[in-house]
């Protein structure tokens, strides 16, 4: 039986922000989880664009041309907790969660799982399905909680 790779997330925005955080899923046995390496390989101006988007998202700014989720009317409501950051044809797919519950139900995180290039008008469902699979993975959920409890010295 092969040993599963440990699951690890990294907080990429300020861990001191009181309301939100953006995280990268940096280690997982699923081969499609590629965000850390893929982000590093992006052109500098694309990385900057995404970093600005992360800043805006944690400040709860509405910027649909930079990021958005999906509502119940799309894909039969299967991906309402998925999220995407956009820059030209680059897409960073992830999911939303509350990693500090039950202590802080209001704290919101976006965990980015993979980077892909979008070549079609419609979203590729494969990426959404993968993001949703990670959202439901108990190891990923535990890693998200641990990332914050480690920061807070719990």
């Amino acid at each position: 039986m092969s040993q599963e790779k440990p699951c690890k997330v990294k907080i990429v925005t300020s861990p001191k922000h009181t309301k939100r955080a953006v995280m990268f899923l940096v280690e997982h046995s699923a081969s499609f989880v590629n965000i850390e390496e893929a982000f590093c390989d992006l052109d500098e101006d694309v990385k900057d664009f995404f970093n600005v988007s992360f800043d805006y998202w944690i400040d709860s700014l509405e910027r649909k041309h930079r990021y958005h989720g999906w509502d119940k009317s799309e894909y039969g409501g299967k991906y309402t907790e998925c999220f995407v950051f956009k820059c030209n044809n680059h897409r960073l797919y992830g999911f939303l969660c509350h990693p500090k519950e039950p202590d802080d139900l209001g704290f919101y995180a976006c965990v980015i799982v993979l980077q892909a290039e979008k070549n079609q008008w419609k979203t590729d469902k494969t990426e959404l399905k993968r993001a949703e699979e990670m959202r439901q993975d108990p190891n990923v959920q535990a890693a998200c909680k641990k990332a914050f409890s480690d920061k807070e010295g719990k």
Binding site: S14, K16, D45, D48, F49, V52, D55, Y56
Partner: protein
């Protein structure tokens, strides 16, 4: 003691510039949406190609101050530069979004000068506050604002506030 979690804009000056230029571009976008202008119309107004607008929207890092002024003026806006202290000397949180400063100015009643700023601040103070001030009526009025001399507070405010109100 330096932080172990500096914001990405701490990497170098270009990153910090990129971020504040992005804030400016977002304000332009918002204004274009309000006016219901397309990027093409905006480009025509500026006598540049639509591609140039798109290029800057996607990568504002090289925006010059001159261009910012041209773009703002083309849609009836102005530009101000400010320096501020935010109790974040090691830049853990990044720049304050310029939209916050704009909204504060709006919330302060759009003061055009320091007298109006002081007067608007006084007018905003709750009647239950512990400051006394008798407001001079006539000189505080301007053609754009209606002055309400009915504010009475209960203890003296700073001298500046009193002088501002009685100009």
């Amino acid at each position: 003691m330096k932080t172990t979690n500096p914001h990405w804009t701490s990497i170098n000056t270009d990153k910090f510039l990129y971020r504040i230029a992005s804030d400016f571009v977002e304000q332009i976008r918002d204004r274009l949406d309000e006016l219901k202008w397309t990027q093409k119309r905006f480009a025509n107004e500026l006598n540049v190609s639509p591609g140039r607008i798109s290029q800057v929207f996607n990568n504002p890092g090289n925006l010059t101050l001159e261009t910012m002024v041209e773009w703002a003026r083309a849609i009836g806006m102005k530009v101000s530069i400010l320096a501020y202290q935010d109790n974040d000397p090691f830049n853990e949180f990044g720049p304050i979004n310029s939209e916050i400063f704009r909204r504060c100015w709006v919330n302060a009643g759009l003061p055009r000068d320091f007298s109006r700023l002081r007067l608007n601040a006084i007018q905003e103070v709750s009647p239950t506050s512990t400051a006394i001030l008798e407001l001079g009526a006539q000189n505080a009025c301007s053609s754009n604002h209606t002055y309400q001399p009915s504010v009475r507070l209960t203890a003296p405010l700073s001298t500046d506030a009193v002088i501002g109100a009685r100009q």
